[in-house]
């Protein structure tokens, strides 16, 4: 082990790791661009732990979770497949018992976890980091580590359970109804649910309504997000609005970052510019409608589709089909809601606690800037936290920072394969694992190129519909402000903190995604067409291009070639 290792014990090592698996897949959804060392440490350790914990608790018959490695800021993963038939059989027996709570009372189980996590977050937030002693700071940091580990345990246990149900639902709709997860009808069945993420968006929308009612629309439209707080503070109405705004940010809205899987960008609480922008966009679009009613429209559509679908199923099959339908619907809203309570909130907690340590280290001369803490890892925090003044971490930080900049410039390869190993074999392994998460989030459905459609890009349907509009290619949340109503968002993938902008969009095109990725779920909630897995959307499409996307067919046409 080198002193510069970011994730000791789990750094990618060719000679040893090809024995675990001849092929390692990059987690492009989360680790592009490359992670900072501290965040990488958390993800690799605990996402890995959570997956194995979840797979073991559920006793998934074919897979024991994923193994993860860290390499140049990227996460690489390989599946831990159960090969021995006897072991599979034994795991099957335990699975039958272990999966039961998901079928019996999923909402109750989830509520228990939400209460547990929110309790942990509140406890962490209770400490004033700048007044705390060094020991208290370290204790808070350790407790945050435990919280993150627990978050991943709940996260992956739940995810394995609900995705198993979702895959089953998909298979059943295919067999009984002849529709798969790329069919519009399929999506209608799983959308239109209220959930926490939606409620946060709704709160922001209500704040926009409030701003409108208080006569603050002009202030919002004429002010940049960065100058918004000062502008609002100039009037009494503005101050009153800010009070409500800050209150919401502190309570629940602000504990999120632009990039869900990273900690090096401000939370909304620290820098509310993204939230101001959302309010601004809503005011531009007009607030004379109700998000709730929009959602209810989708809900009504879902209920109608449910009816339609049930009619096609023989009466004696309906009992269990409805059980599966409910499970799949749970999966859909859980997929959206868990981001709020798990990833976004917990990662904001990492940032909060780590920056608290960072500020102390700066104060005592250990590092130069609070954000430098993202370039050290928890072992090093432990090493210095009680007596920071005794240590100098600057050389370590500057070396790691240089490494990180290099990773960002070079980027990482999508797969690391042993020589002589073909990509087809690698994909086969993924499919053979029957791992529901691998199937639903990582792999997705591969698009079928149908030359007779003469499309410029072929993908799969994430959310049904046909739309024309102007392309806006977006890589980071900062670029979201260029979006105007009716635009087609083109991105590598989308992140939960981008959700509010969906209400402005005409449609979405993403390079990668499966039926339970963010873009698909949110697209369905907002009722806008989403085409996924086009692979080269961000490469081929440019800002201002006029495109038609037919999500039903999974095609994209450039109209002004």
């Amino acid at each position: 082990m080198k002193v510069y290792d970011c994730v000791p014990g789990l750094e990618f090592d060719e000679s040893a790791d090809f024995q675990v698996s001849p092929c390692w897949f990059q987690d492009a959804t989360h680790s592009v661009p490359p992670w900072t060392p501290m965040f990488g440490w958390f993800w690799i350790n605990f996402c890995r732990h959570g997956m194995q914990y979840g797979a073991e608790l559920l006793s998934l018959p074919t897979v024991k979770g994923w193994d993860w490695r860290f390499k140049d800021g990227a996460g690489y993963l390989a599946l831990l497949i159960v090969k021995d038939p006897a072991e599979r059989k034994a795991r099957e027996e335990r699975f039958k018992v272990a999966i039961k709570p998901f079928v019996d009372d999923f909402p109750g189980m989830w509520k228990g976890f939400v209460d547990e996590m929110v309790g942990r977050y509140e406890k962490l937030k209770a400490l004033d980091l700048d007044k705390a002693t060094n020991i208290q700071l370290l204790e808070n940091f350790e407790e945050m580590i435990n919280t993150t580990r627990r978050m991943w345990e709940i996260h992956m246990y739940m995810m394995y359970g609900v995705y198993t149900a979702f895959v089953l639902f998909e298979q059943m709709t295919k067999q009984l109804l002849g529709i798969d997860d790329t069919s519009p009808q399929f999506h209608k069945l799983t959308s239109g649910f209220d959930n926490k993420s939606f409620q946060v968006d709704k709160e922001l929308f209500n704040l926009a309504k409030k701003a409108h009612a208080m006569g603050l629309k002009d202030v919002f439209l004429s002010t940049s997000a960065g100058a918004m707080r000062n502008a609002l503070n100039a009037s009494q109405n503005g101050q009153e609005f800010l009070k409500a705004f800050d209150d919401f940010m502190e309570k629940e809205g602000g504990w999120r970052m632009e990039r869900m899987a990273e900690i090096n960008v401000p939370t909304w609480l620290e820098d509310p510019a993204p939230a101001f922008n959302v309010i601004k966009m809503s005011l531009e679009k007009g607030v004379d409608y109700s998000l709730d009613e929009e959602r209810k429209k989708h809900e009504a559509e879902r209920l109608a589709t449910e009816k339609e679908v049930l009619e096609k199923i023989a009466p004696e099959q309906r009992g269990w089909f409805k059980t599966i339908l409910t499970l799949a619907q749970n999966s859909a809203w859980f997929s959206e809601e868990h981001n709020h309570y798990l990833d976004l909130y917990a990662h904001a907690m990492i940032r909060r606690s780590a920056l608290g340590v960072g500020r102390r280290l700066v104060k005592e001369g250990t590092i130069d800037a609070p954000e430098d803490v993202f370039f050290i890892i928890p072992d090093e925090v432990r090493k210095v936290c009680i007596n920071p003044g005794m240590f100098n971490l600057r050389p370590l930080v500057s070396r790691r920072k240089a490494d990180w900049q290099g990773w960002c410039e070079r980027g990482n390869v999508p797969m690391i394969m042993q020589e002589g190993f073909a990509i087809e074999d690698a994909m086969k392994g993924l499919v053979e694992s029957l791992d529901p998460i691998a199937l639903k989030v990582v792999v997705g459905t591969m698009p079928v190129v149908r030359p007779e459609l003469k499309a410029d890009l072929y993908g799969v349907c994430g959310s049904p519909g046909v739309i024309e509009g102007l392309v806006k290619v977006v890589w980071t949340e900062n670029e979201l402000s260029k979006i105007v109503k009716g635009d087609i968002l083109v991105a590598p993938t989308t992140s939960p903190s981008w959700t509010p902008v969906f209400s402005l969009l005409g449609g979405v095109i993403v390079d990668r995604g499966a039926s339970l990725s963010h873009a698909a779920i949110v697209g369905r909630e907002f009722g806008i067409p989403v085409v996924m897995n086009v692979f080269e959307g961000t490469k081929l499409l440019k800002d201002g291009m006029r495109v038609r996307l037919d999500a039903n067919m999974g095609t994209v046409y450039i109209l002004d070639k």
């Binding site: 099957e92 039958k96 079928v103 298979q171 009466p315 059980t323 029957l434």
Partner: protein, 347 residues
């Protein structure tokens, strides 16, 4: 309970079972529940007694039987003699005129039935109705019209208790050979547009929130016998919403022909048309729900839509009994779903 020779169906109930037979008593029960049953009247076993004693037939039949037995009739071997004896008894019953003090009330009832239906002479079904089921209690004569024919067919039903099978049955069961009282139902013929069954439970999965209605054009026999694929509707009982409909290709239907029924082709244009209107389905469910509530358990009922009447007067009921169904075991669906999940890992 007033003991009479003739009753209107609506006067009857379960307690009359021994007097008028099961079929009539059941129809009376349906009327009690507020169901509309085909109009008609019942002759009790008192009418049979009256007929057999007043005409001297009782002694005559006894004499025939005694003579045969005295001549060494072996019921197991002398099949021909049995048939001959049965024929003689039935002939003498059918040929003996109905005593006027019985014929009068029967004629009166028939006249009132015809008036009710606003026709000169209403076509009726004349059916046997026994207190317990035994041979000779299955006779049914359809399309019987006119006072004289009605009376003749009532006698035919009485005579039907002397078929060879019925006689052998009574001998084997130590019952009197020459005395076989039986009730008779005289019921107006339905002109069925369509008919079928309703179960106020989905029998296979025991879903008691829903009812299933199945039907075909013509009479209900084709639905019960399973000869065609009937129309099938699933209704949510609380919401009173038709949740699913499957329109079968109904190639054949059962209609009345002569004094029985025949299977005939359904006209091409109708084969794939629903045999009942939505409002009729919902009315059928509404009524069946009331019966279910009354008994506190799911029901299996037979309905007929009569084309001579307009909605909702056109829905008649001919049968109601407790439904047989698989009870929904708690967690059965859940267990099945878990088994399905397991299959996902067995590719």
């Amino acid at each position: 309970m007033e003991v009479k020779e003739i009753y209107w169906l609506k006067e009857l109930s379960k307690e009359y079972n021994d007097l008028v037979g099961k079929k009539c008593a059941n129809l009376g029960e349906l009327v009690k529940l507020g169901l509309k049953v085909p109009y008609g009247f019942a002759l009790s076993i008192k009418a049979y007694e009256h007929f057999m004693t007043a005409t001297g037939l009782k002694e005559e039949v006894e004499k025939i039987v005694e003579n045969e037995r005295g001549a060494g009739l072996d019921i197991d071997k002398d099949v021909d003699r049995m048939i001959e004896m049965s024929g003689r008894i039935r002939a003498v019953i059918e040929e003996t005129p109905m005593p006027p003090d019985l014929a009068g009330p029967i004629t009166e009832c028939y006249r009132r039935l015809s008036e009710e239906m606003q026709v000169g002479e209403v076509a009726c079904a004349v059916r046997s109705s026994g207190a317990v089921s035994m041979p000779g209690q299955m006779e049914t004569y359809l399309n019987v019209k006119g006072e004289r024919d009605i009376i003749d067919h009532i006698k035919k039903v009485w005579g039907s208790a002397f078929t060879t099978r019925a006689i052998v049955f009574r001998i084997n069961n130590n019952m009197p050979i020459s005395w076989a009282p039986i009730g008779v139902a005289v019921i107006m013929m339905i002109e069925a547009k369509s008919a079928g069954v309703i179960l106020t439970v989905l029998p296979n999965i025991g879903d008691t929130e829903r009812a299933i209605v199945e039907g075909n054009f013509g009479l209900g026999e084709s639905v019960v016998s399973g000869e065609i694929t009937p129309d099938s509707f699933v209704i949510h009982k609380k919401e009173m919403a038709i949740e699913s409909r499957s329109i079968g290709q109904k190639t054949k239907m059962v209609v009345y022909g002569g004094t029985g029924t025949t299977l005939c082709e359904v006209p091409g244009a109708l084969q794939e048309a629903p045999c009942v209107e939505d409002r009729e389905i919902l009315e059928i469910v509404r009524i069946a729900k009331e019966v279910e509530d009354y008994f506190g358990s799911p029901q299996d009922m037979e309905w007929v839509v009569d084309k001579r009447f307009s909605f909702p007067e056109n829905i008649f009921w001919v049968q109601a009994r407790g439904a047989k169904f698989t009870k929904q075991e708690a967690g059965k669906d859940q267990e099945y779903v878990i088994d399905l999940m397991l299959q996902l890992f067995r590719k």
